[in-house]
């Protein structure tokens, strides 16, 4: 009995250590990120500016440009990474993610509609994530509706296939809308769809952070339930879990996390898939350690991509999402080939 408990505990403990290490790495990358940019500041200047010293210009660069963007990058990663873990565990399928299930495309369509049809000068910080959430939920609902059949077991693969089809449909509608809007909005949309960290103002970031915290905690609290569901719906039912209710609850949380990331950070397609994969190799499958690890890893990826774009003049004007895609697609293909 004792040994079983020990065996069960040890991966969790290992996971906690790995998470701590990842957190350190995140902070390290974060600090490096503070030093990357077109405006030259020495490490000493950056540190003294961080603690209230430095020049006026240095403070502006650091607090109004670099920090908000890096924070946004981390948060987008956290949201997508955690959301990916929840979706994969809920569906017992490691190919599920906000991107492949079409949830981010659904959010994306609503953002596109908003930009194309409604947005005037000066957009609202709250309206866009709410619309994105609505789009994401609607799209998740549609995919669930089309991807399942009554009186039949849930088939994750069918859901993913429906998601792929739906995202291509949203893509077509988006393309159509993009054909009929003016060029400045078109540029914004195209950049947004490729994954640009655009909501880099503190007011957006505060809204996003509150949102992330709220749904992050709500999701994390159900980590055990997620573990049980991941073993099997029947097992979960046998252990007294109300699968239907928890499934709905966790889905909404996951969609909320992903949609907000999409709304503020743009469409980072494979992020919600790559994060959980790498994390699973490091910490195992326990959702309680997997969720933070996946979020942190995804956050580090987005930060690194953004640092490349900001630091290398050669990559000027290229959204960070494109760098993420170019880096993550080969890895994803490699995963597909060897699994």
């Amino acid at each position: 009995m004792n040994s079983i408990v020990k065996k069960r505990l040890s991966p969790l403990r290992k996971g906690v250590y790995v998470n701590a290490a990842l957190l350190f790495l995140l902070i390290a990358v974060f600090l490096v990120g503070c030093n990357v940019g077109q405006y030259r500041m020495s490490v000493g200047e950056v540190i003294s500016t961080l603690f209230g010293g430095g020049t006026d210009l240095g403070r502006v660069i650091l607090f109004e440009e670099r920090l908000p963007r890096i924070c946004l990058a981390v948060m987008v990663g956290l949201g997508m990474g955690m959301s990916g873990v929840v979706m994969q565990d809920l569906l017992h399928n490691d190919l599920a993610s906000p991107g492949t299930l079409g949830v981010s495309a659904g959010s994306g369509l609503f953002v596109t509609l908003y930009v194309a049809l409604i947005q005037g000068n000066g957009s609202s910080a709250v309206l866009m994530p709410i619309l994105a959430l609505f789009g994401g939920l609607l799209s998740a609902g549609l995919i669930f509706l089309f991807g399942t059949r009554r009186k039949q077991r849930l088939q994750p693969t069918r859901l993913i296939m429906t998601g792929v089809a739906m995202s291509s449909a949203y893509g077509a509608v988006s393309t159509f809308l993009m054909l009929i809007i003016d060029e400045s909005r078109l540029e914004f949309l195209q950049r947004w769809q490729s994954g640009e960290l655009w909501g880099t103002e503190w007011e957006y970031i505060v809204v996003f952070a509150v949102w992330l915290l709220l749904f992050g905690v709500m999701t994390y609290r159900q980590g055990r339930v997620l573990n049980v569901i991941n073993v099997g719906y029947d097992v979960a039912r046998g252990l007294g879990v109300n699968v239907g209710r928890q499934f709905l609850y966790l889905s909404v949380c996951a969609v909320a996390l992903a949609s907000a990331s999409v709304a503020f950070g743009g469409n980072f397609f494979f992020l919600g898939l790559i994060g959980p994969h790498i994390a699973r190799r490091l910490v195992g499958t326990d959702a309680r350690v997997l969720m933070p690890a996946s979020g942190i890893i995804a956050g580090i990826i987005v930060m690194l991509a953004d640092m490349l774009v900001q630091g290398l003049e050669f990559l000027a004007n290229i959204p960070a999402g494109i760098v993420v895609s170019v880096l993550s697609v080969p890895y994803f293909l490699y995963l597909l080939m060897r699994s």
């Binding site: 077109q38 502006v60 440009e65 670099r66 000068n121 054909l179 000027a316 004007n317």
Partner: protein
């Protein structure tokens, strides 16, 4: 003796006649090989401001009050590069097309171009440590406030087609009213001259169809293509009714393709083709366009009188590019008549 003298005078006459003939040829050649006269290029003006700092307060087109150093040379311009260059002002960095800039040697000496252009990178601008940032008219307030953290920001009239308003405003910012007046007169002079020449060519009131090609023949909408403004507003020519209807139906969206079957219904008295892909500023009709049966159905195509324009030349309306723009248009008209 007498005979020899007469031979001599005949030789002199002959030489004189030859010289005359030659000089006539030479004069003709000097005028213009294409027959038409080119427009006078923009006058070269000097930045006559003082060098010591002079604090001034200016009310911008948005109604904001901006305090800045009127004599600063540390300027970054996200807009209006060609207008500023004509004023004699040399900013530290501008947002402009490098190829266009290199076509005006002397006007952009020591001026850098910004790499991050969509819409801008505050850090990159900050590396120039500017004392004044000039931006475009429609920039978001939130974007402006990001830039204001580095230096005073003044938006320029980019949407305005009125040279007096646009250039006068720049003159007011820097206290270069004389330069502004010179440039305004120059611009208005060119417009008037172009109108005269169009009248002389008998084109006034004629219908002009402008086409471009991007996987389908279409009509370039809106005034952001400056040739539209010049042709249809300044030079008093008209669109065909079909073209007006097309622009209304396509809601001024760029590149909405016209069915090849109907292209010839859009043909006006004069046909102009705008090349989006011109190489080295030399517009031409692409192979795909020439092979297009819809294009071939145009009378102007059959009679080889389609005027060509280089699209890139008309993306901006700065006073610096005016002469080249009108030269291009007149050349296109001459071909198209």
């Amino acid at each position: 003796m007498k005979k020899r003298r007469s031979i001599k005078s005949a030789a002199v006459l002959l030489v004189a006649a030859l010289v005359c003939l030659f000089s006539v040829f030479a004069l003709a050649a000097c005028g213009d090989p294409d027959g038409g006269e080119t427009f006078e290029t923009v006058p070269v003006l000097q930045d006559t401001r003082g060098t010591e700092a002079e604090t001034a307060t200016f009310t911008t087109l948005n109604g904001d009050s901006v305090t800045y150093n009127k004599n600063t040379r540390r300027i970054v311009a996200l807009s209006g590069a060609g207008d500023l260059a004509a004023f004699g002002i040399r900013p530290l960095a501008v947002m402009a097309d490098q190829a266009t800039m290199s076509a005006y040697p002397g006007f952009f000496d020591g001026v850098d171009t910004l790499s991050y252009t969509q819409p801008f990178n505050v850090e990159e601008i900050a590396t120039y440590e500017p004392e004044l940032i000039l931006v475009y008219q429609l920039m978001d307030d939130s974007q402006i406030s990001r830039l204001e953290a580095i230096a005073p920001v003044i938006p320029l009239y980019r949407e305005s087609f009125d040279f007096r308003q646009r250039l006068g405003y720049i003159g007011d910012i820097f206290g270069l009213e004389e330069n502004a007046e010179t440039l305004i007169n120059y611009a208005e002079g060119i417009q008037a001259e172009a109108a005269d020449r169009v009248e002389a060519m008998g084109l006034e009131g004629k219908t002009v169809s402008v086409f471009y090609y991007a996987e389908g023949i279409s009509i370039p909408p809106g005034d952001s293509w400056y040739f539209n403004k010049i042709i249809y507003d300044y030079l008093g020519m008209k669109r065909t009714e079909a073209a007006e209807e097309f622009l209304a139906n396509s809601q001024n969206n760029p590149f909405t393709p016209i069915s090849n079957e109907s292209v010839r219904n859009f043909e006006g008295d004069v046909v102009i083709y705008v090349d989006l892909y011109s190489i080295n500023g030399q517009p031409s009709m692409s192979e795909a366009l020439m092979a297009n049966p819809g294009w071939q159905s145009l009378k102007a195509y059959q009679e080889d009188r389609i005027g060509l324009l280089d699209a890139m030349l008309y993306a901006e309306k700065d006073v610096l590019y005016l002469a080249a723009q009108y030269n291009g248009l007149i050349e296109a008209f001459e071909k198209a008549v």
